[in-house]
């Protein structure tokens, strides 16, 4: 994974185990994935703002087949979208760990953890926040 000119700020923060999202310096709207302009006001000015440590499960899939040889040891694994209600509509592709996949439910509350990788920075992942009190419609 090679950072781009648009997303380098995200990955630099991951190297320090900080999850950040781009935030418009003009209208203060969050956005993700990174973009050179704010979708709401088109400003180029932005900062990288630390995300809440808690998010909410927006969607998930349990991947049972290794589509790449390097993923063979990982299956089955959970790919998820986690929503951060305090950051507007921002959702992050990530992995869910520390739970039997059959216990996952959309809407459940999650908390940030970090997973080490062989190459590249640590990656944000999420685990259930106990007690599990997800609002099933959100």
């Amino acid at each position: 994974m090679e950072p781009t000119l648009d997303d380098a700020g995200f990955w630099a923060a991951c190297a320090e185990r900080r999850l950040v999202f781009q935030r418009c310096a003009t209208c203060h709207a969050f956005r993700h994935p990174p973009l050179p302009r704010c979708p709401h006001c088109q400003s180029a000015a932005h900062d990288w703002t630390e995300a809440p440590r808690r998010g909410r499960l927006f969607s998930f899939t349990v991947t049972r087949r290794a589509f790449r040889p390097e993923l063979a040891a990982a299956v089955p694994y959970v790919v998820a979208l986690v929503h951060f209600p305090d950051c507007g509509d921002v959702r992050l592709v990530t992995n869910i760990v520390g739970i039997d996949p059959s216990d996952l439910a959309i809407g459940m509350d999650l908390e940030l953890v970090w997973t080490e990788t062989a190459e590249g920075p640590p990656l944000p992942a999420f685990r259930p926040l106990t007690p599990q009190t997800g609002d099933s419609r959100r």
Partner: protein
């Protein structure tokens, strides 16, 4: 400037085979096969072609096609941005716009996809513009992206595995009479569906389309030109390209469509515009071809285009509506799930045959056909065809 009336005057395809099975022809060769078949069907010599339109990063360049086929001029050459089948009908729209405005006379829309040569799309090769935010998390294959969408759709609108099984089984049943269909001779029942392995929940192997070596093509021209050639032409009632504000690459491309629209396929606006332009309503459609790379996409399209209210597609499907004799016979040649995967170009071919009254599984009295492109991407696209008269 007077807008000229357009139609699809010819349709054709190469032989269809599973990926890797065609080893005696290049992908370009298959494209030529399909285009020549479509032109023969239209009664038009290759020299008359003066444009090409394609989509999904088709690698077979108009310059090569023109050269190989001896086309007299290249007055139109366009490729719709975006991968997958989102642009399938947008390519028809580009061709129709060129013809309607008089920039070109006879534009061939084609898609050639030889996965044995250019690579399997179903494997972990997805490298979209946002690959940095998907690949490190093991989100590498289209089926996983479709599964994330399907999970959210089911959460918001309800849904059942039985409906997905019905989609797969209905289209498989339609393929049984189709000599071109890769899955002819392999009928399927719900038990077969539920016995197929779960790949990426909630999607099983039999929720996934074929991976094929295949090419298909259609000839877009004026209705006047088609009449002169004696072609059995299907008039283009409306064709459109669409994508709502703030969709971005959407669920399939990355992950941040607007929250309130995340269960849809980015075609709600397009659906309204398409039917309004044609002066028709969804209930006027007698036969439909839905983009079926994965079964849940059919549910999304039924709801996006107004064939069902949001949340009602599941019951609509389970009532057998997509079958021959049902309320909306769909993917009547087998579709991407059971005929061949050509990024939806074969769906256009089948819609034209239905409007001519010459389809293998002809829907009696069908006078309006709908074709939907790949949902969930931007742009997506759709087409309404009328009956050959």
């Amino acid at each position: 400037m007077e807008e000229r009336e357009t139609c699809i005057a010819g349709v054709g395809e190469s032989r269809y085979a599973r990926w890797g099975k065609i080893t005696d022809s290049s992908e370009l060769g298959l494209a030529c096969d399909a285009v020549l078949a479509a032109l023969a069907d239209a009664g038009m010599p290759p020299a008359e072609v003066d444009g090409f339109a394609s989509y999904s990063n088709d690698a077979n360049l108009p310059a090569q096609m023109q050269l190989a086929l001896g086309c007299r001029a290249l007055r139109h050459a366009s490729l719709v941005w975006g991968g997958g089948g989102g642009g399938a009908l947008a390519a028809v729209g580009n061709a129709a716009a060129a013809v309607a405005s008089g920039q070109a006379e006879c534009v061939v829309v084609f898609r050639s996809l030889c996965q044995g040569q250019s690579g399997r799309l179903g494997s972990g090769r997805s490298r979209g513009p946002l690959a940095n935010f998907t690949l490190p998390f093991g989100l590498v294959a289209p089926v996983q992206q479709a599964a994330l969408v399907a999970s959210r759709h089911r959460h918001e609108r309800g849904g059942s595995a039985e409906a997905l099984a019905e989609i797969a089984c209905a289209f498989r049943a339609h393929a049984q009479a189709n000599p071109r269909a890769i899955m002819r001779g392999r009928p399927m029942e719900p038990d077969d569906y539920f016995a197929s392995p779960m790949i990426s929940d909630p999607l099983r192997l039999l929720d996934c389309c074929l991976e094929s070596d295949a090419a298909a093509a259609v000839v877009v021209t004026t209705r006047e030109h088609a009449r002169r050639a004696g072609a059995a032409a299907a008039p283009i009632l409306a064709v459109g390209t669409g994508g709502g504000r703030h969709w971005g690459l959407g669920f399939l491309g990355a992950h941040n469509p607007p929250l309130e629209r995340a269960a849809g396929g980015n075609a709600e606006d397009l659906g309204r515009e398409l039917f309004a332009r044609a002066g028709l309503r969804p209930e006027d459609v007698k036969v439909a071809q839905f983009y079926d790379a994965f079964t849940p996409m059919v549910l999304q399209a039924l709801e996006d285009y107004g064939f069902c209210a949001p949340g009602e597609a599941d019951a609509f499907v389970r009532a057998g509506s997509l079958r021959l004799g049902g309320r909306l016979p769909s993917n009547t040649a087998g579709g991407s799930l059971s005929e061949a995967y050509v990024h939806g170009c074969n769906l256009v071919v089948e819609a034209v045959r239905q409007m001519r009254g010459t389809a293998i599984n002809q829907v009696p009295g069908a006078d309006v056909a709908f074709v939907g492109g790949g949902p969930g991407v931007a742009p997506t696209s759709a087409l309404l065809l009328g009956k050959n008269t």
